[in-house]
């Protein structure tokens, strides 16, 4: 991101007067629209409260309401002081993952279903990874495997090492959207839903072996082998969850 001092103050010409329904929601929508279309970029200053009030034809309270909502969402940062104001800010890491976790956690969804949704993107990325992986990608994947091996030896393997591997593997597809989506499935919240933490100790050794094999298949750009390995690797988790799920349901009945 460019330094604040070089940022242009956004032109108010991109906004139009508000005329419907809940005014502050409309203000939020318009500002988000300007962000989505690229008219507002991270670091850009929004027009002042007074300018927005005049341009949008709403009260200062309404503008302030909208800015607070945007701030709460994590898209706008409000700074006080002489150089203060509202600035567009890039959302924190985990922003999409949190949305995904909220959506799936607050509805009745099963861990197996979530794993299957995750597999769509991780399996789908395999051909792209095989085609585009660089030597640097391979080196970094190997480094993660080495750290996992060491952790297993010391008995302090953490499921986060596994998540890191999967995220780095997906990043080797060199597609920002795919990397982001795979990453958002690896958030701590969803993983706890999938009860991956419980199964980590047993999946540690076998999982680590499979990670090594995956790196080898990707090195050889062997799509079929990598795909089959990933399918078995993730499918094993899904199957275990399924058994655990059935056992738990059986016990409850």
């Amino acid at each position: 991101m460019a330094a604040t001092s070089s940022n242009q103050k956004a032109d108010t010409g991109m906004f139009r007067p508000v005329n419907v329904g809940r005014a502050s929601e409309d203000v939020v929508r318009q500002i988000k629209g300007a962000i989505h279309s690229g008219q507002l970029r991270p670091g850009d200053a929004l027009p002042s409260e007074r300018e927005l009030t005049g341009r949008l034809g709403v009260s200062r309270v309404t503008v302030r309401d909208a800015l607070r909502t945007l701030e709460a969402t994590g898209l706008v940062q409000i700074r006080v002081g002489a150089r203060g104001g509202a600035f567009v800010t890039a959302p924190a890491p985990g922003y999409v993952g949190e949305g995904l976790a909220n959506m799936l956690l607050l509805s009745s969804t099963s861990p197996e279903d979530v794993t299957e949704a995750r597999m769509i993107f991780e399996l789908g990325a395999i051909p792209l990874v095989c085609e585009r992986r660089t030597d640097e990608d391979l080196a970094e994947l190997e480094a993660i495997c080495a750290r996992a091996d060491a952790a297993l030896k010391q008995g302090d393997f953490d499921v986060r090492l596994s998540a890191e591997f999967h995220i780095r593997l997906a990043a080797s597809a060199h597609n920002t959207a795919i990397a982001l989506i795979v990453d958002s499935f690896q958030g701590p919240l969803l993983m706890s839903l999938a009860r991956a933490r419980d199964v980590a100790p047993t999946m540690g050794k076998q999982g680590a072996r499979e990670h090594h094999k995956l790196v080898e298949a990707i090195r050889k750009r062997d799509v079929d082998a990598a795909h089959a390995l990933m399918e078995r690797h993730l499918g094993r988790t899904a199957a275990r969850l399924h058994r655990r799920g059935s056992a738990a349901r059986g016990a409850a009945e």
Partner: protein, 234 residues
């Protein structure tokens, strides 16, 4: 749950409204608060948290913005827990993609990955009902082209119904969320809009026929052709 506020603890220091949000989100995650539950009144919450009503209102606004809370007015009104809709998640992906330097090709590729994954599940699990519903959508779209009343929503409906054929709720919801941010129309700069609709309608029919035959290779090839059409992906 609506009147008992004993599960809340007073807030100390920092940004009070954020701490209230964090406490409530935690209760949602542990399942102590569930979709449909009504929060205690503003006054009760203010007392329980040891903050002003303004702060409580602030917190509820933040929760509303995240799609976790719905405020209803009237006698039986109040702040109700809701499960966020697919739109809320889709917005988040749109936000991040808009702020990253992502190319239209990357977006198209991500969409292709998603749709091929969904197609594989549908090939395994689509029921007669699924196929019939997809057939209805195709028919409606074909008729609309003839009547010159085509609505692009029909294309979206086709992909949504295909996702539902995965018989997996998480997949259906994720697809619903991501279809907007990964929309193709903006990427198909290379063909006139009218042609694009006609070809989309034809493409969907070919995908459906292959799906009905459980011909994986043909179905995947049709989906790849459909989604790479008019883009610079090959």
């Amino acid at each position: 749950m609506s009147s008992d506020a004993s599960f809340l603890t007073p807030v100390a220091g920092g940004r009070a409204s954020q701490q209230i949000v964090d406490q409530i989100v935690e209760l949602l995650r542990t399942g102590e608060l569930k979709a449909g539950h009504r929060l205690p009144s503003e006054r009760q919450l203010a007392e329980a948290f040891g903050v002003s009503r303004v702060t409580v209102r602030d917190a509820i606004r933040i929760l509303q913005a995240r799609g976790l809370m719905e405020v209803k007015v009237g006698v039986s009104g109040g702040a109700f827990v809701t499960a966020p809709t697919a739109d809320v998640l889709g917005e988040r992906l749109s936000d991040v993609l808009a702020m990253s330097d992502i190319s239209p090709e990357e977006v198209a590729e991500a969409r292709l990955v998603m749709e091929l994954g969904i197609l594989d599940l549908a090939l395994k699990r689509a029921t007669d009902d699924d196929l019939a519903a997809l057939g209805d959508i195709c028919e409606q779209a074909e008729q609309a082209m003839v009547d010159d009343s085509y609505d692009p929503q029909l294309a979206s409906d086709f992909h949504a119904r295909l996702a539902a054929a995965s018989q997996n709720w998480a997949v259906t919801q994720v697809a619903e969320s991501f279809r907007g941010p990964l929309r193709m129309a903006a990427l198909r700069e290379r063909e006139p809009v009218d042609d694009a609709h006609q070809r989309t309608v034809e493409d969907h029919r070919v995908v459906l026929e292959a799906l009905t035959e459980r011909d994986r290779d043909a179905a995947r090839a049709a989906m790849v052709r459909h989604l790479t059409r008019g883009t610079s992906l090959t």
